[in-house]
Amino acid sequence: MIEILGYAAFFLTIALSYAVIALGLNVQWGQTGLFNVGVAGFVGIGAYASAILTAPDAADRIGGFALPIPLGWVAAFAAAALASLALGWLTIRLRADYLAIATFGFAVTVQLAALNLEPLTGGPFGLGFIPRPFNGFAGDPLVFGLLNLALVALVLAFVWWVLERLVRSPWGRVLKAVREDEEAARALGKPVTRFRLQAFAIGGGIMGLGGALQAHFIGFIAPENYLPTLTFQVWTMLVVGGAGNNLGAVVGSVVVWGLWSGSSFLIGAAVDPADQARAAALQIVLIGVALCLILVLRPKGLLAEVLTHHRRPAGAQAQDRPATR
């Protein structure tokens, strides 16, 4: 019983840290309509920034400043937000999918840097000894697990609260206006590009914070944690839950992470070890097909966005100019 409870705490902690990342993506995509294909890059930047600042000093590396964990989290947010700002400044004024391509390239480059800047990042071997919150309780796995779960839930609640306030603020309403009809927002004198940039930076920063949360919970990070599969997982979480809806982002994270780790568990238990790599490939096929099916059949996800206004002109559902028919 205690084991099951411990595992449930572990599962939920990871799922809720994904929820933080998905909330960040929701600011960018759900609220603002900015497409980020480099989620893994921003998560990775946050994780590495916090790890380098808070890990104990090591002889063979630069970094290891042994700073307190909350400071690492703030740095993770700041680093990822700055990177988003730079990338957004470069591409947001251009076509919508240039941002997608640029963020994709950014994530590839971040992963490459993590792999090759060995004196800073530990290279392919990764960074260990990242301080874990409540490490004093590590002897009692259940207490340790529950305390960490509570901490991640608290951070998630805080991010949620801030975002809900932002969405309902005049700032959030402009953001939605920009997403629904850029020309109209511009005609009303709103600095559209600046609003988009701000949203992109805040979303990126939250992803970085989520990355730091995960890094500190596990205590070890390596470049292969930040492959495009991560981007894909977070996107699936948001699309399944319902873009534009914060509750949807959280529900989607728990559901998709449950399906993901559940199917991994089944593969581990039922498939011959020699075939496990192939079975894992099939797992990604199924999730990819599921993502496409949801886009086709239920584009609003499990929980649709709660609209704050009631009147909607007919045919105004397109967020961008429709593709060639």
Binding site: Y98, I101, V285, C292, A323, R325
Partner: protein, 302 residues
């Protein structure tokens, strides 16, 4: 500095250029960045591998002339191009076409292509495993040209084949009715439809051409390096960089962009180190978006 990087860069650049033609065509006609394009490259290479294995039973796999591969591979090439072009049309019919019919936003199509990319790549990994595969195990002797330059017969054949393919696509786009229709749809789909052009047919042609050229690039990559499930996905960023550098919608631009990206990568491998190769395309992309977002041969759009 060893001038050999010019040969290596040209060969890699030809491959990237071929793939980038498909990206630029689908982008200009369907108006979205297709993240599944890399998987057409991978699918083409694996299709040729499977077909050459089958054909080997009939025509044997003894190397032709100075090349490293036999008739089985040569015969598999056109078949693999057909198969991959068909796959691209199929993907449009079951996914992108459905989304377009529902008037989904461009970005929804981009997300769908991202999901399709993951699914296709993992499906190929499931069928063929992640072990690298090769068309042939034959070794080749490089031809020397002086100034320290050398190239294998395979590499020279690839360059010639790319030249022929690019010329064919260019003539198709500029001299034929099909090409004129494609350019019309890329220019203004509504007007093209009004003037009686079968837009669906044009869309199918664009997918078939893009998929077929991607297969050609994949077979080249398979012959020059190896075949593995991630080969196309790893080429995706260079493809996008080449298409945007050349100017979206421009076929000559895509080829030019591909050659620039290939040369820069080869130069970086020699000067900075092979481990940073993958960052070159991002650097080029950043510079283009910063300095000339419409690309070298593209026109500025509103």
């Amino acid at each position: 500095m060893n001038p050999q990087f010019v040969v290596d860069g040209l060969v890699a650049g030809a491959m990237i250029g071929l793939g980038a033609i498909g990206v630029t065509l689908t982008y200009s006609i369907l108006r979205f960045a297709n993240f599944a394009h890399g998987e057409f490259i991978t699918a083409g290479a694996y299709a040729a591998l499977a077909l050459s294995g089958l054909l080997g039973a009939f025509v044997g796999s003894v190397p032709v002339g100075d090349f490293s591969f036999g008739w089985n591979v040569l015969l598999a090439v056109p078949l693999a191009i057909l198969v991959t072009g068909g796959l691209a049309i199929l993907l449009d019919a079951i996914l992108f076409g459905v989304l377009r019919a529902k008037a989904s936003a461009v970005i929804i199509l981009v997300i769908a292509s991202f999901g399709a990319s993951m699914a296709l790549r993992s499906l190929l990994e499931f069928v063929f495993t992640s072990q690298p595969a090769y068309f042939t195990n034959e070794l080749q002797i490089a031809v020397r040209f002086g100034w320290g330059l050398r190239a294998t017969p395979d590499q020279l054949l690839m360059l010639a084949a790319t030249l022929v393919l690019i010329l064919a696509v260019h003539l198709l786009m500029t001299k034929t009715q099909v090409g004129r229709r494609m350019r019309a749809v890329s220019e203004n789909p509504a007007l093209a439809r009004l003037s009686g052009i079968d837009v669906r047919g044009v869309v199918r042609t664009a997918w078939f051409l893009g998929g077929g050229l991607a297969a050609a690039a994949g077979i080249m990559a398979g012959l020059l390096v190896q075949i593995r499930p991630y080969m196309g996905f790893d080429l995706l960023l260079p493809l996008f960089a080449a298409a945007i550098l050349g100017g979206i919608g421009s076929v000559p631009g895509a080829v030019l962009g591909g050659i620039v990206v290939g040369l820069c990568e080869a130069l970086a491998v020699q000067t900075v180190g092979a481990e940073w190769r993958a960052a070159v395309a991002f650097l080029i992309l950043t510079l283009v978006l910063l300095l000339r977002p419409q690309g070298l041969l593209g026109r500025a759009r509103s």
